[in-house]
């Protein structure tokens, strides 16, 4: 049984809540497919965790909308917002369903991943270790796209997610980086992040 907490109202602008729901739901789709196609349990668990975050956001957004609607006209103007928010919630549910294929040990036939890898880039997680050459550096300075065809699509820092980080964002020890790229490139990047490869060429 998952643990459900009471969700208390917090005054957060609708725009912020919806923006986070949209961004997270899209990140979750990418993570989930990658987890299922390449049987990556850790990624799958991240998706499930994000899914509960989106659920909380959905509650908060609904409450915000209820408070905002004072009459029929408001309700008509806001119904579109709640419909779109519900759709992003549904998308994140779908991503969680995909992740559950992995966490429930069903798995997708391994040949599917093999064939997919030829056409699709994949995602990989890498934790930045203390002695890594990339620790403390700005993402833009690493020039990953040109060097190894790798893109950092998200950073997990403590409990927070930074989606599509800016070039000026620095990576720190302990950051978990979600990267996208061709298999060779992301493997090389993982070795750099984890300090097994010490030269940034």
């Amino acid at each position: 049984m998952p643990h459900f907490e009471k969700i208390e109202y917090k005054p957060i602008p609708v725009r912020e809540l919806l923006l986070e729901m949209k961004n997270l739901s899209e990140l979750m789709i990418d993570l989930a497919y990658s987890a299922a196609l390449f049987n990556d349990k850790e990624l799958a668990e991240d998706v499930l965790e994000l899914e509960s975050r989106v659920d909380t956001l959905a509650y908060l957004l609904d409450m915000e909308i209820m408070i905002a609607a004072r009459d029929a006209k408001d309700a008509e103007a806001l119904i579109g917002v709640s419909t779109v928010a519900a759709a992003t919630d549904k998308i994140s549910d779908a991503a969680a369903d995909i992740a559950a294929i992995v966490t429930h040990n069903i798995g997708v036939h391994p040949i599917v991943g093999e064939i997919f890898e030829k056409v699709e880039e994949r995602l990989m997680k890498a934790t930045v270790k203390e002695d890594s050459v990339i620790a403390g550096k700005q993402i833009g300075k690493l020039d990953l796209a040109a060097r190894m065809g790798v893109d950092i699509i998200a950073i997990r820092r403590n409990k927070d997610w930074i989606i599509n980080p800016e070039d000026t964002e620095k990576v720190f020890r302990g950051d978990i980086l979600i990267t996208r790229g061709a298999p060779i490139g992301i493997k090389e990047f993982k070795e750099l992040a984890e300090g097994r490869l010490t030269k940034l060429e």
């Binding site: 919806l18 899209e26 759709a87 779908a94 069903i106 036939h109 391994p110």
Partner: protein, 197 residues
């Protein structure tokens, strides 16, 4: 063991399902941002197409001559298809807001504009290097990072193909990371002669 060829066929069908569901999401957000019925209708048409693809994909997977020990792997594949179809459904629900004639609330437009992955439109002026090029030749994605989702021409909304030729006056509807928006606008209208909002 099932032959490799059969698998490739199943995976190809799945990839098409996945691509279409993601295209539907992009188009649905575009439809909301621009309050555009044609884009929303396109999402609904794609939804029917995705349903059909999904059925074909499931039949193909189920009629594969798999062994007992391969059953979980096939179950996983089937569930992957179901979830992908659910994403397409969600996109169709978003587009429905536009088709019901509800003017999208300003907060929706703001959110879509501010999101990491956004949609935009850019009009093509006659001094643009894109004029008279096919989409394949124009290399819009390589230049700007944006994908062209649709071309608005004379009140009609066309779905882009590799050999679609770009004309002066076209409005390109594209999605991608926010950084690409300005690049696309510059490419389509180098002297900033026209802007569409």
């Amino acid at each position: 063991m099932i032959e490799q060829k059969r698998f490739e066929e199943i995976v190809a069908r799945f990839a098409e399902l996945k691509d279409n569901s993601e295209l539907m999401m992009d188009l649905a957000y575009s439809a909301l941002l621009l309050n555009n019925r044609e884009l929303a209708e396109e999402v609904q048409r794609l939804e029917e197409y995705v349903d059909q693809l999904h059925t074909e994909f499931e039949l193909l997977a189920l009629t594969s001559d798999f062994k007992k020990e391969e059953a979980p792997g096939f179950l996983g594949l089937i569930r992957l298809g179901v979830a992908t179809e659910k994403i397409a459904d969600a996109a169709a629900e978003m587009a429905e807001v536009v088709l019901r004639g509800i003017e999208p609330h300003p907060v929706l437009k703001l959110t879509i504009k501010e999101a990491e992955e956004t949609v935009t439109q850019a009009c093509v002026t006659d001094n643009s290097p894109l004029v008279n090029k096919t989409l394949k030749e124009a290399r819009v994605h390589e230049e700007t990072g944006m994908w062209v989702l649709a071309i608005k021409r004379g009140g009609k909304c066309l779905r882009p193909k590799a050999d679609s030729r770009i004309q002066t006056g076209d409005i390109l509807i594209a999605s991608g990371y926010a950084e690409g928006v300005e690049d696309l606008k510059k490419l389509a209208s180098p002297e900033d002669l026209c802007s569409v909002e």
